[in-house]
Structures are given as structure tokens and as C-alpha cells.
Amino acid sequence: MSIQDDETLQLYVEESLEQLADVENDLLIIEEAGADIDIEMVNKVFRSAHSIKGGGGFLGLETIKELAHKMENILGLIRNHKIVPSPEVINILLLAFDKLRELVNNVDQSNGMDILEHIVALTGLMSVSLPLDEKKGISNMVDVRLSDGGIIFSVSEFDISQAKKNRMFIYVVEYDLIHDVQKKGKTPIDIVREMQEVGNIIDSKVDINAVGTLDSDISLLNRLPFLVLFSSIIELDSIGSVLDINEKCIRLVTEDMVAVSYEDIPSTTEPKLKETSIQIESEIEEKPLKLDEKVDTPEIHAKAEAISEALSMEEDIPTKKVLKDIMTGIDAPTIKSKATASIRVQLSLLDALMTLAGELVLSRNQLLQVIGSYDPHDLELIGQKLDIVTSELQEAIMLTRMQPIGNVFNKFPRVVRDMAKSLNKEVELTLEGQEVELDKTIIEAISDPLTHLVRNSVDHGIEMPDERIQAGKDEQGRISLRAYHEAGQVNIEISDDGGGLDEKRLAAAAVLKELITEDQARVMSKKEKINLIFTPGFSTADKITDVSGRGVGMDVVKTNLDKLGGVIEIDSQIGEGTTIRIKLPLTLAIIPSQIVSLGKERYAIPQVNIDELMRISANKVKNKIEKVGDAEVVRLREQLLPLLNLADILGVERTYVDSKDGIERRDRRTKIADRRSKKSLIPMSDDDNAEEDLETSTEESNLSDQNERPEDIDRRYHAKSAVNIVVVSTGVFTYGLVVGGLLDSEEIVVKPLGRHLRHCQGYAGATIMGDGHVALILDVAGIARMAELSSLESIHRLAEATIEKEIDKKLIHEVQSLLVFMNGENEQFAVPLDQVARIEKIKAKSIELVSGKRVIQYREASLPLFTIDEVANVKPLEDKEDLKVIVFNITGKEVGLLTTGPVDAMEVSIEIDDTIFRQTGIMGSAIIGEHTTLLIDIYEMLETLNPGWFTGREKTQLEKDKVTTILLAEDSNFFRKKVTKILKDEGYDVIEAEDGMIAWNLLKEHADEVSLVVTDIEMPNMDGLSLTLKIKEDNRFSHLPVITLTCLAGEDDIKKGEAIGVDDYNIKLDRESLMKSIQTHLHKS
């Protein structure tokens, strides 16, 4: 039959592809379930194969029909528990479905395509792979007997039960080929086709006895009965008219007409049944039909037998080998997949579109009317209406292009399964968020990069099962694919629990390949090192795959995602796994963007790329913007951000709008030509002499501009002179783009750039603004490339490294917040600021002397006062009118220290000397502000003055039978001694350690004694957080409370600590709260 009209064919192709899309995953589910078959699932696949077969038959696509038919048979056997869907079986089915897809994709050529191998494989499965007794199932024969007893069909039970399962009716149709066919002008081929279109021919026979022989009189040949055992979903009352035959000739086959026959089942698979008897009865008795009647050429048969033999053998090797032989021939099907030109849309959506189109027509009519009347109010109304309708229309049309990402995800179970199999790994794939919708173009384009990433995860991410067991992981690796919406974008995450990326090895490999220098590698952050795998050229050497684990073609992945406006991020922990996050816009046609200006030109930056906007007012420019090497950076929170000036990159003349007269002038301080000069890239930032000197020495042309100078002073402080920075992210790194002005945020319609602009890498496209002007869309990654920002990045790193070093240095010296005050003349004291409750100004004369103690009336209570010289051997308090009282709150009691001013709080890093001036009440000395300053130990002081205040608590501790031992880790000699003393005073036993490493070793030695750990955070060898982590991860110690002591407890630090398991934070040397915290946690444990 010739191929039908295109439309029907196209419909068939689409439908079939849709059916096929699900088949793969369903088969995998079936495989997973193994012998415990999910009938529904098998039925689903069965139906897919069936409808493909049906359509194929109808359209004359014989090859497709043939293949689908074979698959249907196998699926039927699986459904009836005749074949266990082992991986081998499923493999053959999967490969066959692949082929089927290829056939459907190339429907025009399908009839000429070779499916021999699949047929062989499938037939092999069908006939011999079953255990012997089950094999009967296929060839188990049943007789179909009509009530009048005369006519008998003998068919396989399988066919009958299959028809029943499909809710089909079984009929015996009796045609007379002469009367019912010939006389109606039809040929037998016609009727066979008719029947196959509406059902299945299970069996048939020509009553050859009725024909007689050649020598019979010709008039005898008026009857040629053709009996068909036919199954169809068409009901009895209409089957007659469908088949165009008298209803009398059709009989419904009921249960009681079917009986099991007891003939011997032939064990040979001989394809041909050679008829020797002309007697129908005897024929039926002797020759049950074979199901695989179409396999009849010797070659196919030989192959089929080989497979079935192989399958039935116990040994794995030959089976695999044979299967492999079959598969190698048909692996990697060369599908010329046609991008489907049509799309399926929900009817409701189409209705909505129709409604909107109607609205649009109405609005147009109104507009036409109003145009005549010139009524501005009406015009405005219609304008609004048009606006609404247009936006809604646009939205609805966008929706028609949306496709669930499941379309892409669905192929991954197969990819993962096949790969894992060939690599001998065990991988479980979980999919999440398949319903998330994306523009069709994106869906199509994302498929390849995603496949690449998933393959990488299986290939390089997940380790071999034995490696995994060694690493204490589950034998089965896990890969999860997740899609979700976030901030108007779609995120896709591919995470595995494999070996992770070793950034050091990546960096080493990159150095080896001379992609980066060793110096660069040294200052690179972990993230930058990991991102090296996106570097073109990194991927090509196959050695690197072995070393790094990943990187084949990742640059291509990145490029593809860039094209889509996507951003990719990698997060990896060695030994724990890798998460790759892709952010994609919902659609490519319309993107939300930030419009920026540069002179008179406007540019759009996609919101996807923007992290934040920054505006540095002119007078702060000098403080905020720093220069490292020849690059400018801006300090943004704790980060240094490299800056690029858009004008320089694009080669546009820098201009500024003069704040006085509003005229745009050329920015005189820099020229396009010297954009790599050592001068500031930031306009309006330099007025100081140093800059000016540098400028005049490097350029001579600016002297003529000197007369503009007076205006500069104004300009610097004018709002318009602020520096606008767009903080953009390329996914790999972040930088600041200095632009002229920040305008609106708009949804722009993306237009591709003309061919003549293609080579400009700074632009991603163009758009037309509301006023009709064209704005170019900036490609932030391209801009970074143009500016060779990668080198800038390293500089930025270098700078950060130096700053970090400085901080480190400070930490060794312990940054302390101190309250510095005077006591005697030229004698400076300090006390930790945290211990201070408040400071009061008093007059000396208001001090009262009550029973030898100085007090002051304060808020209707008396505040006891003391001076340092009462305890320590220092100069007495200077005799002054005005005194300051530093109020401490110790053990719930307030006490005031009399001092003379000035009192100053400062944050200093000091080196504390605890020997020279050590005495009661003085913990040591340090140089603060060029003065030797004595540090007060307020507890010691008060204990000396009022021993009674502290005794109560000590007792509670001493009463316990066992002395509690605390492990203290602190690198500073001073603080360690200090804390030890505090703890010992409180009755605790203390084990001291100089750093985390020592503490860890001591802890192991004294595992039984230690009941609490107090640790400093910043320590050499092993810091407090690592120590905590070690403790919390060790079963022996995880119950121990860990309290950290720190000088700097930032929010971030606390969060980090909490995540690790730190039980409490304490600011260094707040004795009160430390004790409280120790007691609380000891009590708890």
C-alpha cells in the first residue's frame, strides 16, 4: 500500500513518537520490578507497541508493523509471566524500540530499512528463552469449536487470552470468497486488509475441500469458504456492517466454545508446516500453528536459535557475548531526528488565545472609532486596554511554547542505566520536577548539555562499587536530577554522591597544560579551580580525564548554556559528590533586563546576570575603590570586586554630564587609548595631587583642559557624579561593570544581531526600546573575555590573599575590644569592653563613705565603688573634681570602678605581656597608643575585695564527688593561663593544650576524664572549628559539649560553628558567661 497523504502520516509519526517517549522509562521500571511484574506498566508499553503496529499496518508501513508486532508479542509474554523481564530481555526490547523510533523518524524510508537483527533477537527471546514447561504457554493449543460442532480452529491459548485481555471480542467470520468477495468486486487482499484495520486475524483457513479439484466441473467452483478467527473491539451488532458481510456468517466465540486441546506439542522450531493431508480434521490434530510464523528464512532462523540457545544456557559469558554481538550491530542508531515542527497545545489554552484575539479585534474597532473623534480620554482608555490584551496575548502565546522538562529528563534513566551497565557500576537516578516548563527552544537545546553532564556524573562522578564500599558509602551511587523554579528562572541541579572534584588536581592539570601559571594556581580559590574544567583546551587531553575525573567537553557545555542565557555553577566536595546547578531563563524570546546608559546610548543587561546594583556617591569613591596592581577593585562587603568600565571595553568615549550646565562633555581625564594606563578607571575619583601628578606625567594632552578644573570640585559632590556599578556574574566569577547611569528594569524582546555584528563578542543581541531606539544587549561573559578579566581575577585574588594575611597576623595578636582609661597620672589601664556594663560621670563630692566603703547613690540604690590602688600596687587615683565610674555587673551585683577620664573604647590587636607587671588584679600589660597599659582582671580584683561574692558557687562545684575535667585548647599563652586559672578557681580540673592537634591527642589520651571542651577558634595546626568537627564526628566524643572562646564572633562564624556542632559561643574572657555556659552544658550532659 502506498503511503497515505502526508497529514495522516505526520499525525501518526507524532503520535508514535509520543508513545515511544514514555516507553523507555516504562521498560526500565519493568526491568527494575523484575519477576514481580506491574501488569499496568507492561500493558502501557504493550498498548504503545500495539497502536504503533496498528497505525503502521494501516499506513502500509510494513517494517514498522513487523517490528512492533514482534515487540508486542514479547510484551504479551512478559505480561503473562511467560518471560521474566531480565536486563537482557529489556535490553533487546530497548534496542528494538530504539530501532522503532528510528523507523518512525524516517518513516518514508522505513520500509526499506533493515530490522533483521532485531527480529532475530526478539524471535529468539520469544521461542526458546522460556523454561520448557512455560514454553507451552505460547504453543499451548486450544480448540475453537462452533456450537454446531463442525468447524474447528486450533490456535495458541496465548492469542486467545491476549485478545480477551484487550477486551476484544472473538468472532468466527465465514466469508465465501466467491459470493462475498468476488461478486462485490473485491479481492481477498482487500478483505484481509479490511479486517486487519479493525482487529486481528488470529487464524484463518480456506476450506479447500469445498473447492474440489481441477477436473471438477467449472460450475462447481462457486463456493470458496474462507473462515477467519477474528478478534476486534467492535461489537457483534456492528461488526457485520463494518466487514460488509451478512451477519449470519459471523459467530461470536464464547468461553464454552474454547477448549484445551491435548495434542502433542511439537518441540521443533521448524518454521514450515508442510501439509501432507488434505483432511482438515487431521490437519488440525497434527499441526498446531506456530506463533512465529513469519520467521521462516533459514538464516533468521539459525540466528534465532543461536540466541535462544545462548539465553537458555546457564553461563553468562556466551549469553553476553551473543547479546553483545547483536547489540554492536545496532548500537548507536543513526537517528536523523527531525525537529518536530508542530506542538501540542491544551485546548483551554487555545480557547484563551481565541478570546484574547477577539478582545484584540474589539479594541481595534474601538480604536478606529476613537481615532475619528480625537477624544484623548477615550484614546487613553483604549491604549490601556490594548496594553492589557497585548500582554495577556503575549503571555498566552508564550505558554503554548512551554514544554515540561520531563521531555528531556525522561531519557536519562535509560542513559544512566546503559552507562552504569557498561561501566559495571550501580547507579540510581532520581528525577524531580519533571513538570517544570521551559520554552521549547530551550528544552531542545538543553538536552545535549544535560546529557553530557549526566554522563559525566555516571562515568566520572560515581565511583566503582568496591571503591564506594571502601569509602564507607552505599554500593549504589545516587544521581539526582532536579528542576525547580526560582526567582523567575528555572534551576536544574544534577548532583551525585560520587568522588567529587579534586580542585588541586584540576589546577595541577591546568598548569601542566600551561593554561595557567603556577602563580595563578596558587592564588586561585577552590571555586575558580573547579571552574577550570570549563576552560577550552582543558578537555581535549584524554589524560586529564584520568587525572581529574571530569572535563571532557565541559567548555562546550558552558558555551551552549551561555547561548541560552544560562548560568552554570559547580559545587563539589571531595569524597562527597558534586552538584552542578544550571540556571536557565524560562524563555529566550523575552527577558527581564536592566537598562543602563552610557552617554546617550542605552544598553540592556539581562537580569539573570545581575547580582546587584551599586552606587558609590562621589565623595566616597576614594575610600571604596582601591587599586591592586593596575586593576581597580571595589570593596563589597568582605569581597574585592574587580571593576570594568563599560566605556573602555566597548571603546566608547567617556562622557559626563556637567552638573552645572547639563551639557555632556568628554571625560577629560582618560582617553580610550589609555584604558590600560595605571590611572584610575573611575571618573570623578581623582582630585588629589598624587593622581594628578601621575596623570600629567603620563599624558601631555590634558593641560589644555585645566581650565575646567574649578567645576570639578562641584561635580565631585553632585549626585550625578556618583559611580554606578552593576555587579554581574558570569556564573564562573563576578565583577563590577561601571556604567554611566542606571535606568529602568524592563522586559525586553530579544532580536538577534545582524550578521555584520556577529563578531562583536560584547553583545548578546539587540532590542527595540519603547521609544523606538535600539539598545544592545550586553553579554557579560563576552565583556569579561574582552577585558581579559581572568587575569584581573588573579590580581583580585592576590589582593585578597594579602588582606587575609593581615587579618591572620592580627589574629595572632588577638584583636580585643578594650575600654582604655586613666587612673593615676600617666598611668593607663584597660579592661575588656565586654565586661563593662556602663560608664557614669560623677562628681567626687557625691561619693559617700559608709562603714569604710565608698558608695554612691545611684537610682535610689547605693553602688559600691573601689579603686585600683585598693588591690594593686599602682598610683592612687588622681584627685579630680570629675570622675568616671566604670560599672561592672559581676554575679548579679553591680560595682563601680573609680577612674579619671578620658575613657576611650578601642579595638586593638595587642601583644599581652603577662610577666612584667603581673600582680593581683592586673592580668598583664600591653602597649596601647604608645602607652604601656595595664590590663585589669576585674574578677581577681573583686575576689580580693569581696571574697564572699564568689564562694557560694565554688561550693556547689566542690560538693560533687568527682572533679569535673575540662579540656582547654588555646594557643595564646596568656589566655590559656587566664582561662585555666578561672576554671581551676571554679573547682574544675583543666587539661591544657596549645593547639587543636594537641587537644585532639590529649582528648584521646584522657577520653574517660574529659567532660567538656573549651576551645579557642583561631589556632595553628588545627583550628577550633576543625577540632569541634573531629569531636562531633567521633562516636566516642560526640556527646561532649564544646564551647568556643573567641575574640571575633561574627554572625557568619556563629552560623558556621553551629553547623559543625559548637554548643556555645563565648567572647574571650567574659568569665561570668563562660561559667554559666559551662555549668549549663555540664548539667545538660
Binding site: L177, I189, I208, G212, L214, E275, E283
Partner: protein, 106 residues
């Protein structure tokens, strides 16, 4: 008119047109004469036959019946794919020996 090729204990009859009612009488006569001449292994070459109608099938079946009576055998060769499928569907292959035009095709 059918072409009749005689080879060693094998006789092939090749109809030159579709086997339909109009020519069936002629074919019938030819077959009959061959069988009556004592031929037992009769081969019908369908090389030039694209279509066969009910009467045509009737003729082939009748020929088969005649041959069976004297322990002969009817073989039909060079069937087009369509006809081959038709014969298979009608289970005529249980009575006649069938061969497609291309042996390797199924």
C-alpha cells in the same frame, strides 16, 4: 497464456498476467492438462502476477487438491510480498509451499 518451462522432473508454469476470474478458466485448463499428463511436482511461478482474486485462489486450491490426490505437490514461487502475506494470512501456506520473490525476505 502461461509459459511452461520443463526442467528435470520439475515443471514450472508461469502465468503472464494477474490470476483473476477472466483468465482463470485458461489457467485451469493448463494446470489440468499438466496434472493429467502425470506431473506431480508442479511449480507456479508468480513472477508476473501482481494480483489474484478469489476465483484465482480457487483455481490454485483446486490444483492443490488435484495434486494431493495423486501424492503430488504444488509449489508457488516468486510471490510478491503482498501476495505472500495474503497467502500466509489465509493460512494457505499450510497447504501450498510458498516462496517469495526474494527468498531472504520474510
Amino acid at each position: 497464456m502461461s509459459e511452461i518451462i520443463r526442467e528435470e522432473n520439475k515443471i514450472t508454469i508461469r502465468p503472464n498476467d494477474n490470476i483473476v476470474a477472466s483468465m482463470s478458466h485458461e489457467l485451469r485448463e493448463e494446470l489440468l492438462s499438466l496434472i493429467e499428463g502425470g506431473e506431480k511436482g508442479l511449480i507456479v511461478d508468480m513472477k508476473d502476477v501482481l494480483m489474484i482474486d478469489s476465483v484465482g485462489i480457487g483455481v490454485l486450491v483446486a490444483a492443490h487438491n488435484s495434486l494431493s490426490k495423486c501424492d503430488g505437490k504444488l509449489t508457488v514461487i516468486n510471490l510478491t510480498e503482498d501476495l505472500y502475506h495474503l497467502f500466509k494470512t489465509m493460512r494457505l501456506d499450510q497447504h501450498l509451499e510458498l516462496k517469495t520473490s526474494d527468498e531472504l525476505k520474510y
